[in-house]
């Protein structure tokens, strides 16, 4: 590494072309799609390159003394701050807890940093802190350090939160997005698209007969039960947040160099979420979740895992949705209800509503 900081050399980026398309940050860079991936691969990864980072897992896994640890961080900028089924507070705790849990770690300690806008009501911060405390207690983690910064009015959107978390890796598991194997069964712990559509409905002022609630939840308890029972047979896990199930499955297909085949009719979607998606021209497979996990497990334990998931309050609607194959490597292919096949690509940036 050079010892003096240098300006980035724009001409010698590992792949300047995609970045050159958008010389400034656009919203799509944060949408969980290709634009964001390119930012990481071509800008951050070359800048920070090291073995722990290169896995690009939900959490970095590393050895410290005699312990194997996992470290993860995430920032939360959701609007509105309070929504049906949760708030930015629960999200900030559960999001980091889940990133650690799907990496095969037992989450232990969290940090919490607040960036607050001048004029933001203290009552709301209190409500957010209360929600975080309850979520941490529920997930069995402690928030042991933090920071507060205030920015001038107009320079923030009320309240942004960053959390980081440390967990201890379970010794018996070897889990990573690059470890899915041909033959693996693909399971999802419940209905998809709930969080994203809960936020969209509030933002767009849509009202449905039954309110769509965020699925925001800590998954470490559910995941622990699966790992306790069949740990060595779990090859990859992920929580499909931004970019939805489609992005998560594509990432694992690419990282593992395998094809993933799913049956579209087996993917659980709540009717009200499906309706809201139809109305807005969105596909639930691309919509964010905050309390769901995807499991890649050896086929012989798939039935057992499904039983364990369905016995847990957070996994009642779990389903086996597909399998890993040597065909169409690095691609996600869905069998449609019509019996035809279609490729489900990673989206470019944000999922755009269609016109008609």
């Amino acid at each position: 590494m050079p010892d003096k900081p240098a300006m980035p050399d724009f001409a010698n980026w590992s792949c300047p072309l995609p970045l050159a398309d958008y010389p400034t940050i656009v919203m799509g860079h944060g949408g969980g799609g290709k634009l964001g991936n390119e930012l990481v691969e071509h800008l951050f990864l070359p800048a920070f390159r090291n073995p722990a980072l290169e896995n690009l897992g939900d959490a970095a896994v590393f050895d410290l003394g005699s312990s194997r640890l996992a470290l993860s961080t995430d920032s939360f900028v959701v609007q509105p701050l309070f929504f049906p089924g949760g708030s930015i507070g629960e999200l900030a705790v559960n999001g980091t807890v889940n990133d650690l849990a799907v990496s095969g770690a037992v989450p232990r300690f969290l940090s919490a940093s607040f960036i607050l806008e001048e004029g933001f009501p203290l009552a709301q911060i209190a409500a957010i802190a209360d929600a975080m405390a309850k979520a941490a207690a529920h997930a069995g983690v402690r928030i042991i350090t933090g920071d507060t910064k205030v920015v001038e009015r107009g320079h923030g959107d009320g309240c942004y939160i960053n959390t980081a978390g440390v967990g201890v890796l379970r010794p018996e598991v070897t889990i990573g997005p690059h470890l899915a194997q041909p033959g693996d069964a693909v399971l999802v712990s419940g209905t998809i698209g709930d969080h994203g559509m809960a936020i969209m409905s509030v933002r767009e002022g849509l009202e449905f007969e039954s309110q769509i609630r965020s699925d925001c939840a800590a998954l470490n308890g559910l995941i622990a039960e699966v790992l306790d029972a069949v740990g060595p047979n779990v090859h990859a896990m992920r929580d499909p947040t931004r970019g939805g199930l489609a992005s998560t499955l594509n990432e694992i297909a690419i990282a593992s160099g395998v094809g993933i085949a799913i049956d579209e009719t087996m993917v659980p979607v709540r009717p009200e979420v499906q309706s809201a998606c139809e109305l807005l021209g969105l596909d639930p497979i691309y919509v964010a979740n905050e309390g769901k996990a995807v499991f890649f497990v050896a086929p012989e334990v798939a039935g057992r895992v499904l039983e364990i998931l369905r016995a847990h309050p957070l996994g009642r609607e779990a389903a086996r949705i597909g399998h890993v194959t040597t065909e169409h490597p690095r691609m996600l292919v869905a069998r449609t209800a019509m019996g035809a096949n279609r490729v489900i690509p990673t989206q470019i940036g944000e999922q755009l509503p269609r016109i008609c």
Binding site: A340, V343, I355
Partner: protein, 380 residues
């Protein structure tokens, strides 16, 4: 979910596909006009279920795709002006203009907002009296009534800071242009169900008669599309050329009279340029004399626009149905959804994007033979 799941039944779809196989004795080219139908055909794999000799030609019915480059450039120029709130449906934001797209204008500080209804833009104008609120009113007859209503309400509420950047296009003149074009091979049309929900289908019998073509008003769900195709094939095989309504749960012959009278009040017919195709006479709407004050092109005198299309882009041939997206030399190479050269690669309704997204891993032969695998081979 009523009216959706019933029309996505895989078993019924297989039965209808078998029926189409039995009906078909020779090759036919059928154009689905609407981009929503293209999207649904590719997404559900309807094209894979049809006999190999039935070719679905993807028509120019994606509003994002046919909005002329000059107007996109005007939109970019207006959106970049200080004091403007520029509102648009979401998928217009990534359509490439000559220099960049609306996302980039937003990234550079332009106030560009995605709205789900033009009426939301009217409310924004009421809430921001010191700002100019512009709505990008694109689309076919389907989106026109809500856009017309926005101007109508803005006028009634006396909102002088609201205007519409209009690029409305009409389906019947496009059908006429395609049928009259040299080397046309289209033999039947699936008319766009949602356009007809507004306009009815009284405009189509003269076209069916003039060009001796079957026109079937068709919906968007898999069974709707298969029914539309089945009716078109049956007419073709029997040598008939009639207008049929395969979407009666939504469409009536007269259409929505209230919407039509509002449209007649707010808009007037004009010549329109279609991106990739050219000017089609009397193929669009602009604001009528009574509403001309609300025309963003009048309010923001944007001049000096010099447009330049990519010379590699063959979207015009795709929109006319002359070539399939994969036959364009730039398809999947210089031109991808990540880096679109033409609008047909941008919207999920654009034929190129639909091909790229959903059928990319199949070779042309595999796509073509997938349909015939479900039943006996049908020879050309």
């Amino acid at each position: 979910m009523k009216y959706l799941t019933e029309f996505r039944n895989g078993e019924v779809a297989q039965r209808m596909a078998r029926e189409i196989h039995q009906l078909t004795t020779r090759p036919w080219k059928i154009m689905e006009v609407c981009g929503g139908q293209t999207h649904s055909i590719i997404k559900n794999g309807i094209d894979q279920m049809l006999p190999a000799c039935i070719e679905m030609v993807h028509g120019p019915g994606c509003p994002v795709c046919v909005t002329p480059l000059e107007l996109i450039d005007k939109a970019l120029a207006i959106a970049a002006q200080p004091g403007v709130i520029f509102c648009s449906f979401g998928d217009m934001l990534r359509v490439p203009g000559t220099n960049g797209d609306l996302f980039q204008v937003k990234g550079r500080g332009g106030d560009v907002r995605v709205v789900y209804s033009p009426l939301d833009a009217v409310d924004l104008a009421a809430k921001n009296p010191d700002r100019q609120v512009v709505f990008f009113g694109v689309g076919f007859e389907t989106t026109a009534p809500a856009n017309a209503m926005s101007v109508h309400l803005a006028k009634r509420r006396g909102l002088r800071n609201f205007s519409l950047l209009v690029s409305h296009v009409l389906v019947p003149p496009a059908i006429e242009a395609i049928m009259s074009s040299q080397g046309n091979q289209v033999q039947a049309f699936l008319a766009a169900g949602h356009v007809c929900s507004v306009m009815g289908y009284w405009e189509y019998p003269p076209l069916a008669e003039k060009f001796k073509i079957p026109i079937v008003v068709t919906g968007f769900e898999p069974l709707d599309l298969l029914d539309g195709i089945r009716r078109a094939v049956r007419q073709l095989e029997e040598g008939r050329h009639e207008v049929e309504n395969a979407y009666p749960r939504v469409v009536t012959f007269e259409g929505n009279r209230a919407a039509q009278s509002l449209l007649a009040e707010v808009f007037e017919v004009t010549d329109r340029a279609w991106r990739g195709i050219g000017v089609i006479p009397k193929s669009g709407w602009r604001l009528s004399e009574a509403y001309r004050d609300f025309d963003a092109e009048e309010r923001f005198q944007i001049s000096g626009i010099r447009t330049a299309e990519s010379p590699l882009c063959h979207s015009g041939d795709v929109l006319r149905g002359a070539i399939k997206p994969a036959q364009c030399p730039a398809f999947g190479k210089q031109c991808t959804p990540r880096h679109p050269l033409g609008a047909t690669m941008v919207s999920s309704e654009g034929a190129c994007a639909a091909y790229y997204n959903y059928g990319r891993f199949l070779s042309a032969e595999e796509l073509a033979s997938a349909g015939s695998a479900t039943s006996g081979e049908v020879h050309a």
